[in-house]
């Protein structure tokens, strides 16, 4: 559905995006992650034809914008990070204008439905100048959905929303995805991407440094998994027994909590539980600490930076 082939954008000596090969499948929610200046927005702008690539090409539905500009543009919806709106218009007028632009049939019904969905129908006749940041963000989301696009491209869609608004938009994204829409989300809110996306691509310094499912990215990065074992009563025999297990790398006792580091190839909680019981202990609780996307993101970008620095050296 969304594909870039060797997409590159250079501004003089600075390379904003370097040889990017993306492939987002139909019906997928793809998270596009990266620190500020990583090249995410430039990539999105190249996908939309608003920035010309220096090399390579971007394809939507297998076609470039040159091949079918209007046809493709009518099949994509875009939510930008900052909502630039005609502030003198009411929400209703604004959305009806865009509905006309996209040739939406029965625009009154469609605009009403979507405004109700984001709970702004009652405020439809207020001018946008008086809307809060969160409300304009929701109007931006509604605008992107008006023409029922096949692809949704969202740049920081929940950045200015309160927790309630975040949930509303998140539910909307999932709902639209269940209807078959392909969604590309660029975000710095890692927890949001983690909750919503099927796959993520991590950009750093214009390069795609990792691309996989969340679980696979974590697995690839994690050298060891930490398991917290809460014991009824801690005793040295248990620590000794666990330290002797082949898959245990380290142990550390803090009161009744025994922290056990294991290799990441398997979930060893059952083995640990059995070993504690064999040593005469009682397990009260077991908690497997997973690496968060945030940890993975930092690890990946730091690795990439050190690789780049290494190359330069």
């Amino acid at each position: 559905m969304i594909q870039t082939i060797g997409l590159t954008k250079e501004y003089g000596d600075f390379t904003a995006v370097r040889d990017l090969n993306l492939h987002v499948e139909k019906g997928e929610i793809y998270g596009f992650l990266g620190p500020n200046g990583a090249g995410k927005t430039t990539t999105i702008l190249m996908l939309l034809g608003l920035v010309k690539p220096t090399r390579g090409e971007a394809r939507l539905f297998g076609k470039t914008l040159m091949e079918d500009y209007f046809g493709l543009k009518r099949r994509i919806g875009v939510v930008s990070e900052v909502q630039y709106m005609y502030e003198e218009m009411t929400a209703w007028e604004y959305l009806c204008f865009f509905a006309d632009l996209y040739g939406v049939k029965d625009k009154v019904k469609r605009v009403s439905e979507l405004l109700e969905r984001v709970q702004l129908y009652d405020r439809r006749n207020e001018v946008l100048r008086g809307y809060s940041k969160g409300m304009t963000q929701k109007i931006g989301v509604v605008r992107a959905l008006l023409h029922d696009p096949d692809i949704l491209i969202m740049d920081e869609p929940v950045s200015s929303l309160d927790p309630y608004g975040i949930k509303e938009v998140r539910d909307l994204i999932k709902e639209e995805n269940q209807k078959g829409k392909t969604i590309l989300i660029s975000s710095h809110l890692l927890s949001e991407v983690e909750r919503t996306c099927h796959r993520v691509g991590i950009m750093n310094a214009g390069t795609l440094v990792a691309e996989d499912t969340m679980d696979n990215i974590r697995t690839r990065l994690v050298d060891e998994v930490e398991i917290e074992v809460e014991l009824e009563t801690a005793n040295p025999k248990i620590v000794e027994a666990l330290s002797g297990l082949p898959f245990v790398k380290r142990t550390q006792l803090n009161g009744n909590i025994l922290e056990v580091s294991t290799s990441p190839d398997k979930d060893y909680r059952l083995d640990i539980s059995k070993a504690v019981a064999a040593a005469g202990g009682v397990v009260v609780g077991l908690n497997r600490k997973q690496m968060s996307l945030e940890d993975a993101f930092i690890t990946i970008t730091e690795k990439h930076i050190s690789q780049l620095t290494g190359k330069e050296d």
Partner: protein, 277 residues
Amino acid sequence: MAQSPFSYQLNSIKTIARREFTSIFYGIGVYLALALAFVVSSLIIMGYTGAVMDAGLVVLPDPMMSPLYIILLISTVYLGLSATVSISRERERGTMEVLFYGPVDGASYVMGKYIEHMAAFIVMGVASLVFLGLASSITRFSLTGGVLKGLVLSIFMASCMISFGIFLSAVTGKMRNSILLFILVMAAFAGFSALEGYLLSFQGDLSAPLEYGRTFVAWLAHSIGWVSPLSYLSRGIDAARIGDVRQLLINIISPVLYSGILLWLSMIAFERKGVRR
């Protein structure tokens, strides 16, 4: 069944033009421009009636032509400036970028803006005709065929000014810069036009080098006249006054070419410059 790209483009042009047309008439600028035009032309007409009352008789072949010229000058300059402001403001606010997320390209955007301003001019033209008709019935100065021809030709003259405004905003970035540029360029064109008139009317004896200089500067000013939308307005009004068919045709074809070229260049400028803030 999928529609053709052209029909999508046409829909975008129509939608943009309709929105902008409405926003022009929601604003106060258009009414102020018309009010100013009507006040100034009323003063001219009052000057004529005063002269008639003082002298008993004044020979005026086309008494409504000068008021018409003033109305057209103010209306078209206002619309040229409005075109410049509306595009550069959209770029500055970022709303242009949002339009281009959707089925809008440089050509449909430029044409939408152009048609919107042309439609606004037609409404202003009708208001001007009503005003001149009222003035004519009050003062008994006749509305001649020349004035009516001038009104028809004014559509082409307005087209030049509007295209010029669109072109300036397409090549500049910030709204303040494009307004300043518009005012400066208009002032320069007016200056060249005045210089051309002065040099051509200069009757004194000159030495050969000064005579060559005068001829060259007059030629230069005349050439610049083909770039200045103000000159198209003056030439159009002159053609309407004279009523010569050839002149009338020239003043239809040349503004069409001028507008076409400027709109085409504006589209290219959009492609090159992009639509981002």
